[in-house]
Symmetry: C2
């Protein structure tokens, strides 16, 4: 959570003069988003989120992200909708950064999801996959299987300082993942980061999906595997098969999973756990001693990986026979 | 800027059930407030700020702060107004912290104030002083002259690591301030922290005052001295007498300053500069090496102190003869 770049009222007023959303009434930096600076902006035209893209987001990817949100919103997916400026463009600049305005979505994210929430996420994920079928831009997943070994080598041998023996276990798992990774399953646009804090609810109704800045073109069933990892485990890291069943069933009501996709699920889940284990490990090791902000625990995903390694078959995730 | 305590949607929903402001629709942690955790809360009833009071705010002071905001708002001062719960109380608890909801104020804070903004602040400050005349609770200023030497001793000899010779200059100045501090001028409620980021404007019109968590009972003219320090210097630390004149003239249109108050102004300005020099110095020295958040530069107020020491008489601040 962060605001990396300060924005002055004068700069923002000038920026907004290029849009048709009325005068600036207030703005606040918000404590959300690990990669970018975000402001909640109130104008005569309503509430908006202004995002300043910081270094970690590649500027050439912005047309993919913004175009995708526009594409999905036009097809009935409730997600932030980029606001077009008077020239019809979605991308501007402020305080030396590329920046875009999107509509503000009401909703709350669920700290303790139940099976009903998991079902709602499964359905929304499948709808997203279908709605994006005709999205014309492709963006390879920079955080898929081929990137994991370099990522591990970046963290290097220091992994053992987090947990003795961790390095060895990661290397062995990377050997398996690289050898058996399913490469010919149906692909398309995936969200790739649909964690609970990126899904809003109003009451029990899913009211919106946010944060498309990891979205990319990859195996659709891998997105399902990511959601099983981040929605269907309990705080003690045990897998809740009731939640898994709810998520999978709701997904398949909208988009069927083929025999091949189902069979690949354990390996896809191992990969998803590895991806979050590695990025968290790198963040964990990058934080200086004594820093105030504590990064997320990488070992949460090590424990989830252990579960996936122990799975006998895809049915353990809760597929109904 | 910070959110020290996370609040779950469940906890917040339960908290809001004690108020008559409708259902929760969204909330975001906002990157404002050095002492507390702040959330922008959107309900059916509108926008509110929820503040969780962290350790640095004494719980017994909260009736003063909340009561003052209510008192001022009832007398036409635009400031956040505490929302009463169904029991008529203004103070609640959430996530183990004392907490209060206040109304949301539209407005922007001015990064580069001009003389017009300074005049608006002078007028608003005088109106605040008058509106609080009959406020019944007293709260001594914990950051006035008697606290400065202990504060300096807390930072200790490490001050010289910020600037060689700084310690000696501070000690000499403390000797002067303790000896000549004006102790029998008119007192009342002062804001005590009316920096530009605590004053909102919409266009050229002052639209609200916020952050009353340093407010206390102290010398009224000391509040004027604080404002001269934080509104009337240029980025190069030179005093802008045009801005000072605008602020003082607008203040005195609403509340006259006596001969004694005017004569004391140079000493009050030295004290105000010392107060911010010392608290910034303590914060500066408390930050661990390599931390991401850089505290405010204490030497800004050392340079302002130098100006005040050089002043021949109060007229140098811009009083019109």
């Amino acid at each position: 959570m962060a605001v990396y770049t300060d924005v002055s009222a004068d700069d923002l007023t000038e920026f907004l003069s290029r849009y048709d959303i009325g005068k600036l009434r207030s703005y606040k930096g918000i404590a959300e988003g690990v990669e970018n600076s975000n402001f909640l902006v109130h104008t005569d035209g309503g509430n908006f989120i202004l995002t300043l893209y910081e270094k970690r987001v590649a500027e050439q990817d912005l047309p993919f992200f913004l175009g995708l949100m526009e594409h999905l919103a036009a097809r009935g997916i409730t997600c932030p909708q980029p606001v077009k400026n008077k020239m019809g463009g979605m991308l501007g600049r402020i305080a030396g950064r590329p920046a875009a305005m999107v509509t503000f979505l009401d909703g709350l994210w669920i700290r303790k999801p139940n099976a009903g929430h998991c079902a709602a996420v499964g359905e929304a994920l499948a709808r997203l996959h279908l709605a994006a079928r005709d999205f014309p831009i492709r963006r390879p997943n920079a955080l898929s299987v081929d990137s994991w070994r370099p990522l591990y080598e970046h963290a290097g041998a220091r992994g053992d300082s987090v947990r003795p023996g961790l390095c060895n276990e990661i290397v062995q798992e990377l050997d398996v993942l690289e050898k058996f990774w399913p490469r010919d399953l149906p692909d398309g646009v995936i969200h790739a980061d649909l964690f609970p804090d990126n899904v809003f609810f109003l009451g029990d109704r899913l009211s919106g999906l946010i944060d498309f800045y990891f979205a990319c073109t990859d195996t659709l069933a891998y997105d399902v595997a990511i959601c099983l990892n981040c929605w269907c485990f309990e705080p003690d890291h045990s897998y809740n098969v009731t939640k898994g069943r709810a998520l999978l069933k709701a997904y398949m009501k909208v988009r069927a999973l083929s025999e091949q996709e189902r069979a690949a699920l354990p390996m896809l889940c191992r990969g998803a756990a590895m991806r979050f284990l590695l990025t968290r490990l790198v963040d964990w090791l990058a934080v200086p001693e004594g820093a105030l902000v504590k990064p997320k625990d990488p070992l949460e995903y090590f424990r989830k990986l252990r579960f996936h390694q122990s799975v006998a078959s895809a049915s353990d995730y809760g597929f109904e026979s």
